[in-house]
């Protein structure tokens, strides 16, 4: 008994040291550290939004969806007959006032530039861009975390069961994962998001379903390969020889070796989840949650009403870069982790 305690204490010390070494190598990876810095910035933004709305920001102005502040207003002379049924003619004037008649002068909100009230300006419907940016960060973060954890848990579970049991269970699970791999998960999530118009799914559910499909598909295949080769290593036999049971072998000896690979797979998977999530809201579905896609929606729809070179660039770039950077930061951390784990010492 006492021997076992010292042994586990020893291995705990060794594990601690290994963890320090991994962090030491991670720190040398420029992409990895860039990702960590970016992620921390987004995390601060995600936390800042609920705090700001509850203290300084008036929801009537700063709500990312319904807030409105008529900072910049353009007076439009309605020179054409507007047919509300077909929406032909000066569509922007019609949107501002459905009862406008030719000869009327209509006030139309236009995107505003930077001001003290709106540090990043407002979008074509008078919404604050900074508020949209922060709100999008918290919704994307919730989604990404749910997607990441679900992917990792599902992929490790499937891979560990397949590798430990082997035989027909392994065959069945591998075939199932292979079949899921033919179905691009982001595409499925876009279909899911666009077909549930009535009751759209929230960010947490979106991340969970994404993780379920990605974890059982692509991630499981990658992790399973590692699990199978781990099961062949001598320390598994040694554990069996000491009389360790199945659950102990899997949890204490197999799973710790799968975590690095599952972490990399899950971070890369999250990239797709973020883009898919943003795209669903870009297509103007997913109405009970806010996401950065909405910003691009309003930024691109506006010039299509006004003419191509009337783009509100601040809205477009802020939204687009935010989506891209959040997705990229997860990918960059994955690259950093990959370099940290993938050294000769760990390959052995």
């Amino acid at each position: 008994m006492s021997i076992e305690i010292t042994a586990s204490a020893d291995s705990r010390g060794a594990r601690h040291k290994a963890r320090g070494a991994v962090w030491g190598r991670f720190r040398t990876s420029v992409p990895g550290m860039t990702g960590v810095v970016l992620l921390s910035i987004f995390a601060v933004m995600a936390v800042a939004y609920p705090i700001l709305t509850r203290t300084v920001w008036d929801p009537k102005i700063y709500d990312p969806e319904t807030g409105i502040d008529m900072v910049a207003v353009e007076k439009l002379y309605v020179d054409e007959v507007i047919d509300p049924a077909t929406e032909v003619g000066r569509v922007d004037a019609f949107l501002a006032d459905p009862f406008a008649k030719p000869g009327d002068i209509v006030e139309v909100i236009t995107p505003a530039a930077t001001s003290l009230r709106h540090p990043l300006g407002t979008d074509p419907w008078g919404r604050d861009v900074l508020a949209m940016l922060l709100a999008g960060a918290s919704s994307a973060f919730v989604m990404a975390i749910f997607a990441a954890i679900t992917t990792a848990v599902v992929s490790i579970t499937v891979a560990a069961i397949a590798a430990y049991r082997g035989g027909w269970i392994d065959n069945m699970l591998s075939n199932f994962s292979g079949a899921l791999l033919l179905l691009p998960v982001p595409l499925l999530m876009i279909i899911l998001g666009t077909s549930t118009i009535q009751e759209s799914i929230g960010p947490a559910q979106f991340g969970f379903i994404y993780g379920l499909l990605a974890g059982a598909g692509a991630a499981a295949i990658v992790v399973r390969t590692q699990a199978v080769s781990t099961m062949r290593r001598p320390f598994i036999d040694a554990a069996r020889a000491t009389g360790a049971g199945g659950s102990r072998i899997v949890i204490r000896h197999l799973v710790p070796h799968l975590i690095p690979l599952a972490a990399v797979a899950m971070l890369i998977g999250v990239t797709g989840a973020i883009v898919a999530d943003a795209f669903v809201s870009f297509l103007a579905y997913g109405e009970n949650r806010f996401s950065w896609g909405v910003m691009l929606n309003s930024a691109i729809r506006f010039p299509s009403l006004r003419g191509l070179f009337d783009t509100p660039w601040h809205v477009l770039i802020v939204g687009g870069v935010a989506i891209s950077l959040l997705a990229a930061s997860f990918y960059l951390v994955a690259i950093g982790l990959h370099t940290a784990f993938d050294t000769p010492k760990f390959k052995r």
């Binding site: 420029v30 992409p31 860039t34 929406e87 569509v91 075939n175 199932f176 292979g178 079949a179 899921l180 791999l181 033919l182 179905l183 691009p184 982001p186 595409l187 499925l188 876009i190 279909i191 899911l192 666009t194 077909s195 549930t196 009535q198 692509a218 295949i221 990239t271 797709g272 973020i274 883009v275 898919a276 943003a278 795209f279 870009f282 297509l283 896609g293 691009l296 691109i300 729809r301 010039p303 299509s304 009403l305 003419g307 191509l308 070179f309 783009t311 477009l316 939204g319 687009g320 989506i323 891209s324 950077l325 997705a327 990229a328 990918y331 960059l332 690259i335 990959h338 993938d342 000769p344």
Partner: protein, 388 residues
């Protein structure tokens, strides 16, 4: 090689059956309502029931599943709610998606592979980390943003004429479906011919010189099309698809660079590299002939996982070009995603399942192709299958 191929195809068929099963039930779960739902306001209960009975939607789910599967074995993908055959619908949209996919990857793969190789070889250098971050940026760029920037760029460059010229091509119906299919067949035939020639030569331990097959693969199809008098139609199609192709290319190249860079960087520490250097082989030759050749195999196997994601990017790009529908710059790409998302709006489950099946088949086909390529390039697999 034949044995190897047969084994892969058989395993693939089993996977496909599971895939269709998952697809059929998943579509039933995630698509609320059915084709008749859209008429719920206009028709009364009896008419709706009659419509459902005509479409077979009143049958139990399992019966419908078995009917669908038995149809599938006979090559029948079922009918859409409006009565059109799903395979005809797919036949009309597939060539455009495939052409974009083939041309974009044909550029993105070699370019990305070369860039990644060069960066991976000097993986400690500062520019290398920059290239990694840049590639991640390309890979994660939000497709609608990319499409919008491309449209703005072309419009600015051509003084607002470019997009309307493209719309004219579409509106005048100059995009011939048959020509597009013929283009695909020609490209396939050339690739197959060159592949077989390379394989035959490799049996005698000789390689096909790059100066022969690269120009042949690039220029050959164009010569055939021009000789058959299809030059004008082909030019229209390629001009119309140029923007989507460039967009997909930008999206895919980042991914290829990342994969190729990491495999090259790993291979650079192998023992044979030190041996080659000790022999006095030039640095560039070690990179291209020793490390590059060795890293090509893991690059291909890792890219198999990326293929579905590149395909999703392609479909998102297709939708983005046509968005918004009333937009001043909307450009309809008549590809897969238009069929998929129109049928999704109509709750036309048969077409959605058929479309996703086609997506799965494209992924499957590409992976099989990469698999074969990998086997052909890997002496171990080649020799192993010969000795069996």
């Amino acid at each position: 090689m034949t044995r190897f191929l047969a084994g892969r195809v058989l395993a693939g068929l089993i996977t496909l059956v599971i895939f269709v099963t998952i697809l059929f039930f998943l579509a039933e779960v995630i698509i609320p309502g059915d084709y008749a739902t859209q008429f719920a306001l206009g028709l009364d209960g009896a008419q709706l029931a009659e419509l459902r009975a005509r479409l077979g939607l009143d049958q139990p789910l399992l019966d419908r599943y078995f009917a669908y599967m038995s149809g599938l074995v006979r090559g029948d993908l079922g009918d859409s709610g409006s009565g059109a055959s799903v395979s005809d619908t797919l036949k009309a949209v597939l060539p455009w998606t495939l052409l974009i996919f083939v041309y974009a990857l044909a550029v993105a793969f070699p370019v990305g592979y070369w860039l990644g190789k060069v960066a991976g070889w000097k993986s400690g250098a500062r520019g290398s980390a920059g290239l990694t971050i840049g590639s991640v940026g390309l890979y994660t760029i939000f497709p609608p943003l990319l499409v919008f920037l491309l449209v703005i760029f072309v419009s600015g460059l051509t003084d607002n004429q470019g997009m309307s010229a493209l719309r004219t091509i579409f509106n005048q119906g100059r995009l011939s479906q048959d020509t597009a299919w013929f283009m695909l067949w020609t490209l396939g035939a050339f690739a197959l011919g060159i592949g077989i020639a390379a394989l035959v030569r490799s049996r005698h331990d000789r390689t096909l010189p790059r100066l022969v097959w690269v120009p042949l693969l690039i220029a050959g199809p164009f010569i055939v099309w021009a000789a058959l008098g299809m030059g004008g139609e082909v030019a229209d199609i390629l001009a119309y698809l140029a923007l989507p192709i460039v967009a997909v290319m930008i999206l895919a190249v980042g991914e290829v660079v990342l994969v190729s860079k990491s495999t090259t960087a790993e291979a650079a520490h192998e023992d044979f590299v030190f041996t080659a250097r000790a022999k006095g082989v030039r640095d560039k030759d070690v990179r291209d002939h020793h490390v590059g050749r060795y890293a090509l195999l893991p690059t291909l196997s890792k890219l198999m996982v990326s293929v579905p994601f590149i395909l999703v990017g392609l479909m998102i790009i297709e939708i983005s070009f046509a968005w918004p529908k009333d937009g001043a710059f909307g450009m309809t790409v008549p590809g897969m995603s238009s069929a998929l998302f129109t049928s999704l709006e109509n709750r036309d489950t048969t077409v959605v399942v058929g479309g996703l099946l086609a997506v799965g088949l494209i992924v499957f086909g590409t992976r099989l192709l990469l698999d074969v390529l990998q086997a052909a390039l890997d002496p171990r697999i080649r020799v192993g299958s010969r000795s069996h």
